[in-house]
């Protein structure tokens, strides 16, 4: 429970709201607690008019007027209470979630390698929700109960202490019953949800594997499997129903028992003349008033339990620290000045955080500003790793990667990255318009700049052929680009930055060779002014580079220009031969 105290600052951020809301809450509780007394007085008027067979209209109107006034004022305060306190909890939730997302933005790629997306998202959504329930309704009902119950008790006691004590006996069980049931219902409904997700996984698997299912005549077997899972879901559903169906009847019964005792014992007290009809009515109605706060007490107890568990999960996330960040060694950006893009690797040996053998070993290489380096190698040879060290996506040892002669660890991260255009192997586009995707890193980019970048990557004609052209939405709610189109959009996204260093990580693999040729020709004009790293499987992509290296197992095994490497007759020359042949074959028709 102590964990939840970490949330206090979010509530006290708007002290006036909090205080006003609490004032409303206290007043509502007090006023509502008093209403039964007024009704009791009214019953006395009623009783008097029965006995005397005449009506004291003045007294009647005073009492009824008082009742109306009380009800009206209580209603206004109740409105204020809900509006202020629940609003406050929603705002606190928003602020907390903002802070959490800000924290996520600061975490390094290695964090995202380790954590599952779904897990992170759950903590920002479902767990956040559980915490919010504590902040809002939880807190509100808790305070309300804390005020209402003692107030009502005091009022009841002043009327008839023995009767009060007796009629409260069953009500003591209300919070306990609620708490026990709420917890059990929660667990059983979780069990249902778990089974529902098993069921969806199974259905999803069957749907994606339809080809196999049909080819192997598996329809019947899958149906049997499904029915078993479905049956288990029904079983769990009924387990939930069996307790859920009991919950309200139990509460109703306990409550009715309270009423019964009041009538029975109270009736006796009335016969003996200890209390009047008005008093009995008041006590009777107070039982109604106590009903909800007592239920909510039990409910809040289970909210607190869940909220505290969720808070723990959120704090796990908050405890994560980035492994790439500016530190004491970082020098001010002004001191470093604009980067020209000279890259030097000095005996770079690199292993991914969390052990494993080094992915790069003793890389010694200098790429002068404005030159192009081609990188070739088999899958897993370290090509992408080498490129990612230049953008400092992972922690790099001091003094092994230098940009314009500055140790990369001394350059402010944002300053470094603002000079890099990165096109990664897996193209990630966002569910926004094509235009916004292209100017992703350059939000103030104009339409003509976007068009130029798209032209360079040979995507402009296709974009113009879409009905919504540049405003075409991508992703879930828009269209899906083909692999090649995605890669070209990513190239446009990087070139629009006009970066000093351009990194192209195998980003033409899904583009046909003719288009590739055109893109490269266009890029070459741009490349001549900037440092470029091109990673590729296709020789045709890198053959025009100033220098080409071949990586094998994290080491440089061949280096030189195209002609030199072909002459060397190693891995590079072998790849080159095969690809030429493939191209020839494709031309046959």
């Amino acid at each position: 429970m102590k964990r939840l105290l970490a949330l206090t600052p979010y509530l006290t951020r708007r002290p006036l709201w909090l205080v006003l809301g609490l004032v409303c809450l206290v007043l509502t509780s007090l006023l509502v607690a008093y209403i039964p007394r007024v009704v009791g007085l009214a019953v006395d008027v009623f009783e008097a008019s029965r006995e005397t067979a005449s009506i004291d209209m003045g007294r009647l109107w005073r009492v009824v007027g008082g009742l109306m006034a009380l009800a009206l004022v209580a209603g206004v305060f109740r409105f204020g209470m809900r509006k202020l306190l629940i609003d406050l909890s929603r705002l606190a939730e928003r602020d907390f979630r903002d802070d959490l997302f800000r924290h996520l933005l600061g975490l390094s790629p290695s964090f995202y390698d380790r954590w599952m997306t779904g897990d992170v998202v759950t903590r920002l959504s479902a767990d956040m929700d559980a915490v919010r329930m504590v902040l809002g309704p939880g807190l509100m009902y808790l305070v309300q109960t804390a005020i209402t119950v003692p107030t009502v008790l005091v009022l009841m006691m002043t009327i008839d202490a023995p009767l009060t004590l007796v009629s409260l006996v069953p009500l003591i069980f209300v919070p306990l019953v609620t708490w026990a049931f709420a917890n059990e219902m929660y667990h059983r409904s979780r069990a249902m949800q778990d089974q529902m997700s098993t069921l969806s996984t199974m259905v999803q698997e069957t749907l994606s594997g339809q080809r196999v299912v049909k080819s192997f005549n598996q329809e019947g077997a899958q149906q049997t499997r499904f029915e078993a899972i479905n049956e288990e879901y029904v079983h769990r559903g009924l387990r939930f129903a069996s307790i859920f169906s009991a919950f309200f009847p139990m509460l109703h019964a306990v409550f009715a028992l309270g009423l019964l005792i009041t009538v029975w014992v109270g009736g006796g007290r009335l016969i003996s003349g200890a209390i009047g009809y008005g008093d009995l009515t008041s006590i009777f109605l107070w039982i109604f008033v106590l009903y909800w706060p007592l239920i909510s007490l039990g409910w809040v107890m289970s909210l607190l339990q869940r909220g505290s568990a969720s808070m723990e999960r959120i704090q796990e996330l908050l405890a994560e620290r980035p492994d790439v960040a500016d530190g004491p060694a970082t020098r001010p950006a002004e001191e470093i000045g604009p980067l020209r893009g000279g890259i030097e690797f000095r005996g770079l040996t690199f292993a991914y955080p969390g052990a494993g053998p080094p992915a790069l070993c003793g890389i010694d290489l200098a790429v002068p500003a404005g030159r192009t380096l081609g990188i070739v190698g088999l899958t897993g040879s370290g090509k992408s790793t080498l490129a990612s060290t230049v953008a400092r996506l992972y922690p790099v040892p001091d003094g092994q990667v230098l940009i314009d002669g500055h140790d990369i660890n001394t350059i402010p991260l944002r300053h470094l990255r603002s000079h890099i255009g990165f096109v990664s192997q897996e193209t990630f586009l966002f569910s926004e318009s094509i235009e916004d995707n292209i100017r992703f890193g350059q939000p103030e980019g104009t339409r003509s700049e976007v068009e130029m970048a798209a032209e360079l990557s040979q995507l402009d004609d296709q974009i113009r052929s879409f009905p919504d052209q540049w405003e075409t939405m991508l992703g879930e709610r828009g269209i899906n680009l083909s692999g090649g189109q995605r890669q070209r959009a990513a190239i446009a996204r990087a070139t629009i930055l006009d970066p000093a260093i351009l990194i192209l990580d195998d980003c033409l693999s899904a583009v046909d060779t003719d288009t590739e040729e055109r893109i490269l020709r266009g890029l070459r004009g741009v490349m001549s002014e900037r440092t470029t790293l091109i990673i590729a499987h296709r020789i045709s992509t890198v053959m025009h580079a100033d220098e080409i290296i071949v990586l094998e197992g994290g080491r440089i095994t061949e280096r030189g220009c195209h002609a030199e490497l072909v002459a060397l007759d190693g891995l590079y020359a072998d790849l080159h031969r095969r690809q030429q042949l493939e191209a020839e074959l494709e031309r046959v028709d």
Binding site: Y112, V121, V203, T206, F244, E582
Partner: protein
Amino acid sequence: MARARVHDFHEDEVLGKAYDWPLLKRLGRYLIPYKRVVYLSIALALGLSVTEAVGPLIIGWIIDGPIQGGSTGGLALWSMIYLAVIAVGLVLEYASFYLIQWTGQMGMRDIRHEIFAKFQRLHLQHFDKNPVGRLLTRVTSDVSVLNELFAAGVVALIKDALLIVIVTVWMLWLSWRLTLVIYLAVPVIFLISWVFRMRVREAYRTMRARLSRLNAFIQESVQGMRTVQVFNREPLSMDQFHELNTALCDAHRATITNYAWFFPAIEFVTNLSLAGLIVAGAVLATGETVSIGVLVTFVIWLQRFFRPIQDLSERYNVLQSAITSSERIFKLLDTPEEIPNPREPRPLRLERTIEFRDVWFAYHDEEWILRDVSFTVERGQTAALVGATGAGKTTVASLLLRLYDIQRGQILIDGVDIREFDKHALRRLFGVVPQDLFLFHGDVAGNIRLGHDDVSDEEIRRICEYVNAWGFISAREGGLHAPVAERGAGFSVGQKQLMAFARALAFDPQVLILDEATSSVDTETEQLIQATLAKLMASRTSVVIAHRLSTIQRADQILVFHHGRLRERGTHQELLQMGGIYRGLYELQFQGQG
């Protein structure tokens, strides 16, 4: 300037009419098997409404009778009767509630069964067109909405309606004037709750749309975080997030306002009626028409009477969503299945040949994947399909199984069109070894035997030994019963290929359709695969999408596909000498291999 757009997508939440008889009747059919239970729970609910109405009445009697008469004995007697009513009410409420939940679960189970069975009969093309996620919601959330209709809707509605009738009649009998006072508030309560529900529903839909937008943004940001960071987008992403987060917060706050006025308003009207009761009661009491017990009875009824009226609009909403969901479900159930089975299928057994005769096929319109393809495979022979990626080889395999129907030409087995056979019998003829084995969640044995529970573990072990898969399977913890994670993570490509052989053989098919793995496999496994292939193909008819030189050299005929056409055919030596496409492919793929 990049804009974070706050879209309010309602596309999947369009609400239809609240009543649609044919649809409701069709829905009602799912209850027919459980109609006795439904009747029972309705009967119990009726009993429940009687006990609920009687409770306050007894309290009134107690006040007017024993208390006024000063009889402690009568007081105890009536209290015991009240206690009995409470107990009966408890049992009735529990039983009726549970039974209706039970019926709901059973009905939902049957609908889910039916939807799932329908999925399995749908044409493959249906899955190419509809994202799996959307189909999935038919079986999950759409059915759950229907459940609400059963669980919270129908029976509760009947119970509430009856409660109102009983209480009204009783109230009229006790004092029609006081009844009138209560009824004055009914339209007001109804109006307040109606406005409230409609607004809340609107706000709720906005909220849901914004919530899913926010969650989608979080998901996307987490997945694309590397891109965000490389492009220095953190500040802007933060702004976008804040905007979406605030939009969601605002939607919540709009809902709060609705709740904030609704509860006080209802409470105020209730208190107003209370005041009215007292005034009217006091005035009437002078004429002795209303006793104090009657007044108390009315006061207690008042606390309960407005509840069902408040709930009416809620039930209307439930009904409306249920109609929309059932419309979607029935639309799916009514989708035509497209690969029709013949009425009187011919018996099937491969005796002589499999033949493609002038086959043309396209997945869409006239984008031909296969153009005028003809070839014949004799029983016991091996045919190797060769060609570059996208040449149409895999399509040939799908067509043999009749996963798709061709547009022109014929596919024949022993001279009979495959459309004249039962499609399941046809598929049983073939054992398919795909390039990338699709593994189901479960264990190794289950993945090999698939649905054939009659294949014993012992037989599976023999098959695994035969295809050289036993080595790595037995090495796993749990052996045949080692768990298989989603999509078979943890098995190498080569191991999966060997398991695929085992799966195909478990069915002892007459014809083997084999799509060889292209990815490189470690030498040891490669040798195992080679050895297995030799055994498998020696004894049965095989159609192989071939990538291995050894397979091709063993084939009786090689069919070379290029851009959807069958361009060359013959044995390895013949084709090499021809010096055409095959020779080029050979040089590309197999130099230095085999």
